[in-house]
Amino acid sequence: MPGDLKVGGRQVKRMTADNLASRMARLQAAINLEEGDRVPVSLMMGATMPCRYKGISQGELYRNPAKGHRAVLEVFDELGGYDAAGAGANTSREENLLDAPMRIKVPGRDIPEHDPIQWEEAEVLTHEDYDKIIEHGWKDFMLEFYPHFRGWDPAEYTTRIETKAARDIKQQKEVMRVWEEKEIPVYQVSYVNTPLMMLSSCRSFVPFTMDLYRIPDKVEATMDAMIDDLIEISIKSVKVMGISLPTGIPAKSLVLERGGSFYYPLRIFERFEWPYTKKMVEAFIDEGIMPILHFDQDWTLNLPYLKELPRGKCICQFDSCTDIFKAKEILRDHMCIMGDVSPSLLSLGTPEEVEAYCKKLIDIIGEGGGFILGVGCSVPTNAKFENLKAMVDTAKNYQPTRAA
């Protein structure tokens, strides 16, 4: 019939009008390592680019996240829509126990009004804090440490964080409702750092690296004391949102930057990153939560380890630093790949260059299924609208010619 087309040697049905079901089917096909009617496209659309594009300052975004969400929706509509969205992109990260306690530079307060928010790399945790984490676990350590770190009255901390959590949940549920109205699946709720990423962020990179070489046993004991708390909090944070099929997929992003081969040799990865990552991934899958492995920087040498994770249960998201083509060779028939239009291409390239790269990704990474076209990391603040449009349009319109 005219609506059908041949992809990868198989007859598949072309969907004429997108709705929640068709988008979800496309997304699930990719996660299940199958070919859908076309490669899905999903932008990790935070609010910094939409606000810049809509003339809203980054300071205003910080002070009024709802404006940011409206800007995201406007840009979504102007792009003609894409296949899946994330909930919770505009919430403050400041009081989240899953986030590294880092000092932030707030636009309009600490940095110019139009600069995007930034996290300061500093030695927030000390050697003594390792002992405290080993003794108390991450959650109890943080409940004591965090108010002190922020300069809050400890007596008010629980109320403060609970109020914040209630506000975040309400806001995120509203975000999810809006996406549901638009018939867009929501597949991502929030992030969690692996123990290595957490400690590297709040000890800062150089001191933490020296710790790995000078006091490896203590670092390992600290991570052992953190992992169960991080998993427990993560699972709760997903479940509280009540996200489920057919409108969305409960998921959790694992932030993976500092533990990879760009920074460390495999013997460090094998001891300090991989066992904890694996434990988190397996625990999430057991709870029906899809792990999204959010890789920043170059993890090419670590890719073979990913085959130890359950097949067809995760998304691996690459930011353009890892060799995505090598990832396809290794993870083909094992794990869904998402990525990786680079920040430099999106902010400095032309629509023609973006289109050409997206076609290459669809041809090579999309071959045989298991691919979601996405941006490297998240949509950069300076991304050109026309480049994002080229990306979305290419996914929707380009059908690769493949041998039957």
């Binding site: 020296m210 790995l212 070489y213 400095l348 490297g376 991304a383």
Partner: protein, 210 residues
């Protein structure tokens, strides 16, 4: 390879500290101790390039080198400190406070024998220019991780041009997301996302200047 160079190349922090102290106590010429340390750093660099070592080993060796310099430097004869390849002005550009890559490059440049003027993070274009004028440094290294940093890099190159320094200064841009596209856009001479490659570029420039 000397014992000291070998200890540094093997990242044996305690052994390096012991050997440096022993040599200073035995009144060995401080410059020759420094050169042994630099030889160790060169081996670390070679091992990094061959894939045997990773960024973390560059960092650890850099920290050991820095600690050694605290002991060696007071014993260097006056004038010997000027025994450098050339001067480099370095910083993370305006609007960006990411410092990891820039700090690593700063240490590696110092260990390689460059005189480094590290201006820190969130550096205004005019501050780069003022430091280039003041030091007459022939190399400018700019770092950035966020996409708005591309604009700041471009602004800085424009400011260097406006000051009439562009033909005297080689410009390198670096950072996790810096690509050829970025290098061209900002008008840099070279680009890299690899700190050690940045140091190698500075060495090439220093060689050209001789």
């Amino acid at each position: 390879m000397s014992q000291l160079a070998d200890a540094l190349a093997s990242l044996d922090e305690d052994e390096v500290a012991k050997l440096v102290r022993a040599k200073i106590d035995a009144s060995v010429d401080a410059m020759s101790i420094l050169n042994e340390c630099r030889s160790g750093m060169d081996i670390v660099g070679e091992r990094y390039k061959s894939g045997e070592y990773f960024l973390s080993e560059l960092v650890v060796s850099g920290e050991i080198f820095k600690e050694s310099m605290k002991v060696i430097e007071p014993h260097l004869k006056v004038g010997k400190q000027a025994d450098t390849l050339t001067k480099v002005v370095l910083g993370t550009v305006k609007g960006d406070i990411h410092n990891i890559g820039k700090d690593i490059v700063s240490v590696l440049l110092g260990a390689a024998g460059f005189e480094v003027y590290d201006l820190g993070v969130d550096v205004e274009p005019r501050l780069f220019v003022e430091k280039l004028v003041e030091t007459e440094a022939p190399i400018l290294g700019m770092s950035g991780l966020l996409t708005p940093s591309f604009e700041s890099m471009k602004e800085t190159v424009t400011a260097v041009e406006a000051a009439g320094l562009r033909d005297k200064v080689r410009v390198i841009v670096g950072g996790g997301v810096v690509t050829e596209l970025v290098g061209k856009y900002v008008g840099a001479d070279r680009f890299t996302s690899d700190g050690l490659k940045g140091v190698e570029m500075c060495k090439e420039f220093a060689k050209d200047l001789k």
